[in-house]
Subunit: 447 residues, 2 copies
C-alpha cells in the first residue's frame, strides 16, 4: 500500500459516509476495496452501511478475507444480508464461515426472507424495553446501550416471550414522567406492525401514511423479528418508482444505476421487451396485407396511417400512466375498474372528437389551399380520417386504462402495462378500425 493511498483513505474517512460513498462509486471495485481496507475501521463500517454504495458485494469480494469478515461482522444486519444476497454462492459461503456463529445464524435466518418483503428489508437491531421498566429505566438503557442500533426513535416493549406489547416513540418517552411505568407511555391505540411476509410496497405505504419512524415486523405468533425504518422505506419507494418508470418505458427494471450496468446486461434488459413488442407489432403487417386491395385502390389512405396510429398510442399511454400511478399510490383499487371505464369512455370520445376535428380541418385546408390534392373524394377521405380518430382515441383510452387492471387481476405488476405495450395493442386494432371505417365511407366511390 503506498503513501498516497493511505492519505487518500484518511481523507475519505473524515468525510460524511454518504459523501465518501459517492467517491468510492467512481472507483473500480478493487480500488474501492483497497481504500476501505486501509481506512480507519469504524469509518469503513459507517461507509459500508450506506445503501448508496454500488457493487458492495464485489467490493467485499475484492477485499482481504480477514478485513472483509471483520467489516461484515460489524455492519448493520439488514445491510449485511443485502451483501450476502448478491455475493456469488461460493464467495458468500466462504465469508459466512468466518463470521461469529451467532451472526452467521442471523444471516441465514434473514436470507430466508424474500428481499422485497418486510423480512428482507428489516434489521434485527432495535431497542427492546421490558414491560416492567419505568420511563427513567428506559432512558438509562438507551443512554448506555444504543450505540449499535439503527434507530432509537422507535422503542418496542417486548415481553419475556418476545411478543410485542407496545411500540412507543422516543418523543413520548422523553416527554413522559420519569417515574411512570414505560408501558403507560404513548397512545392507547393498537401499535402498527407488519407481518414478516408483507410486500415492500405495503410496508412503505404504512410508514408513509402514518408518518412512522419505523414499523415492527412480526411473525405469525406476534413475536417481533425486526424493524423496518423510515430510511429503508425512502430507499424502497425510490427503487419501486424507478422500476415502475422503467417498466412504463417498456423495458425490464434495471436494478442498478444506468452507468453502473455492463453494456451486455443493459442490452439484455432492453432486448426482451423490444423483441416481444416487435413480434406483436408484426400483426400490423398482417393486418395491412388483409387490406391490400383497398391499399392499392387508394394509396391516399396510407398517408394518414402513422398519424392515426400514433394518436391511439398517445391517448393509450396517457391513460395507462395515470392508472398505473393511481394503483401504485392506492388511490384506485381493482374493484374501481368500472368507475375508471365509465370515465375513460367519455374522455376518449371528447379527446378523439377534438383530434378528429383538427384532422378534418387540416385536410380541408391542404385541399382548398392547393398544398396537396387528395382527389375528387377528398371530403369523404377527411370524414374517414375524422371518424377513425374518434374511434381509435376512444379505443386507446379504454384499452390503456383497463390494461393495468387486467395485469393486476392476472397477478402481474400493473406497471408491466407499459406505454409501448399499449401502443402496440392499439396499433393493430387501430388499423382495423381505420380500414373498416374507410370501407364503410368510401365504398362505392374510391374503394
Amino acid at each position: 500500500m503506498d503513501l498516497a493511498q493511505v492519505s487518500e483513505a484518511r481523507r475519505l474517512a473524515a468525510l460524511h459516509p454518504a459523501d465518501a460513498v459517492e467517491e468510492l462509486n467512481e472507483m473500480d471495485v478493487s480500488e474501492a476495496g483497497a481504500m476501505l481496507a486501509s481506512m480507519d475501521f469504524r469509518a469503513s463500517v459507517g461507509v459500508f452501511e450506506q445503501a448508496g454504495l454500488d457493487h458492495a458485494d464485489k467490493i467485499i469480494d475484492a477485499m482481504p478475507q480477514d478485513k472483509a469478515s471483520a467489516l461484515l461482522t460489524e455492519i448493520a444486519a439488514d445491510r449485511r444480508v443485502d451483501v450476502f444476497r448478491k455475493l456469488p454462492k461460493n464467495a458468500g459461503a466462504r465469508l459466512l464461515e468466518r463470521l461469529p456463529a451467532e451472526t452467521r445464524a442471523e444471516v441465514e435466518q434473514l436470507l430466508s426472507y424474500p428481499s422485497d418483503t418486510a423480512g428482507g428489508l428489516m434489521t434485527t437491531e432495535f431497542f427492546r424495553a421490558r414491560p416492567e421498566w419505568t420511563v427513567a429505566q428506559g432512558l438509562d438503557a438507551i443512554r448506555t446501550g444504543s450505540a449499535a442500533l439503527e434507530t432509537v426513535y422507535a422503542i418496542y416493549i417486548v415481553d419475556a416471550q418476545g411478543v410485542l406489547v407496545k411500540a412507543i416513540s422516543l418523543r413520548d418517552l422523553v416527554t413522559a414522567d420519569p417515574l411512570a411505568p414505560i408501558s403507560s407511555v404513548g397512545t392507547t391505540r393498537k401499535s402498527f406492525s407488519v407481518p414478516v411476509d408483507a410486500p415492500r410496497d405495503e410496508v412503505a405505504r404504512l410508514i408513509s401514511k402514518y408518518d412512522l419512524s419505523a414499523a415492527p415486523v412480526l411473525d405469525a405468533s406476534g413475536k417481533i423479528l425486526g424493524i423496518v425504518t423510515v430510511d429503508d422505506v425512502i430507499d424502497a419507494i425510490i427503487d419501486t418508482d424507478t422500476e415502475d418508470a422503467q417498466k412504463l418505458g417498456g423495458l425490464e427494471a434495471l436494478g442498478a444505476p444506468y452507468m453502473a450496468m455492463s453494456f451486455m446486461a443493459m442490452i439484455k434488459k432492453r432486448a426482451g421487451w423490444l423483441c416481444a413488442l416487435f413480434l406483436s407489432e408484426m400483426l400490423t403487417a398482417s393486418a395491412m396485407q388483409t387490406y391490400e386491395t383497398e391499399l392499392e385502390k387508394a394509396v391516399v389512405l396510407t398517408l394518414f396511417i402513422p398519424l392515426i396510429m400514433s394518436s391511439g398510442g398517445n391517448s393509450g399511454s396517457q391513460a395507462t400512466s395515470l392508472i398505473i400511478r393511481a394503483l401504485a399510490l392506492g388511490e384506485l383499487r381493482l374493484r374501481d375498474w368500472w368507475r375508471v371505464a365509465l370515465r375513460e369512455l367519455p374522455s376518449g370520445l371528447v379527446l378523439g372528437s377534438l383530434l378528429g376535428v383538427i384532422g378534418v380541418i387540416r385536410i380541408i385546408i391542404w385541399q382548398k389551399a392547393g398544398i396537396y390534392d387528395y382527389g375528387e373524394h377528398w371530403f369523404l377521405i377527411a370524414l374517414t380520417v375524422g371518424c377513425a380518430l374518434v374511434g381509435i382515441v376512444t379505443f386507446g383510452s379504454l384499452t390503456g386504462s383497463m390494461l393495468p387492471f387486467i395485469m393486476q387481476r392476472l397477478g402481474f405488476d400493473p406497471a408491466s402495462a407499459s406505454a409501448p405495450f399499449v401502443a402496440t395493442l392499439v396499433d393493430v386494432t387501430g388499423l382495423v378500425i381505420y380500414f373498416s371505417i374507410a370501407i364503410r365511407i368510401l365504398g362505392g366511390t374510391l374503394l
Copy 2:
C-alpha cells in the same frame, strides 16, 4: 346537526387521523366540513394536519367561519400555508383576517415562498436550544414545551441573532452526559442546511442521502427560518415521482388523485399534449406525401410502415425513461451527455440489428411458405426493412436518450421528454430513413 352525524363524528375522532382522512376523502366537501366541525376539536386538528386529506381548501371553505379560523390557527404552519395557497383569493383573505395577528403575519411570510422550494415546504415550529444550555436543560425544555412541534428528533442550537449554530439529534442528546454543554453534543462536522429557495427535489435528495430526520432552512445571512421534515420529503418524493410518471405518459401532471379530478379538468390536462403531439405527427402525412410516387409504385412498402415506426418509438421510449430517471436520481448529470451518447449508439446498433434480423427472417418465411407474396424483388424488400430497422432503432435510442439532456439544458424539466414526444419525433425521421433506404436499395428495380 342530527344525532347520527354526532355519533359518526365521534367514531372518526377515535380513529388514527390517517384513517379518518381516508373516510373523509370518500365524502363530499360539505359533508366532510360538517363532520370536522362537529368532531372533538383536538381530533379535528390532528385530522386536518394530515397531508393526505383531499380538497382541504374546499372543506375549510364549507365550514362555519369561526370553526374554520379556529382550526387554521391551531394546525401546523406548513399545513396552514398549503391550505391558504389553494383557497380562492377572497375566501383566503376573509379567513386570514380572522387569524391572530402573529399567525397571519407568518402565513403571509410563508406564502411568499414558491410551493416547490424549501421555503414552501418548511414548518416554522421546531425546537430551538440556546448555546449556553446544558444537555439536561435541553431535555427539560423538550419535556415541557414540545407539544406543538412537528418533530423533536432534530434540535437546533440557535444564537441570540437567530443564526443556526449547530443541529443535533434527540438521539445524541439523550445519550449525552446531562451536565455537558449542549453545543458539545454530536458530530463536529458542519451541520446540513438548505437555502430557503432550494428546489424541493434538492431538499429531498439531501434528507434521503444523509438519512436526516429534518433539514434546517436558512436565509442568506444564516438565520434559521424553519425546517423540512422527513415526512414532508416522503410526500415530496411521491409527488415528484407521480408528476414524472404522468409526464412520461405524455400529459400534464394532474396534481390531484385520478378520481378526485373533475372530468373537464382531466380533459384539459390531457388535451394539450395530445393536440401538440397530433399537430407534430401531421408531419408524417407531409413526409408520406413527399414519397407519393414511391408509394404508388410499391404499395408493398406501406405494409411495414407501422412496424418500423413503432420500433423506433419503442427504443426511444426505453432510452428516455432510463435517462429521465437517472437524471432525477442524480445518477447522471448534464455533463454526462456524451458518455450516454457513446453508450446508446452501440446499444441502438445492437438492438436494431437484432430486430432487423428478425424482420428479414419474417419476410423470408412468409415468402417461402407462401403465406404472402411480396413480388419478385422480395429479398430486396426484406433487406430494405432490415436496414431501416437498424437505422431507426439506433436513431430512436440516440434521440430518446439525448432529449432529456436537451430539455434540462434549455431549463425545462427533463421529464417533459415524454415517451409519446420521443415516439413522435422518431416517427417523422423514421419515415424519411425508411424511404431513403428503399430508394437506395430498390432504385432501378421496384422504384
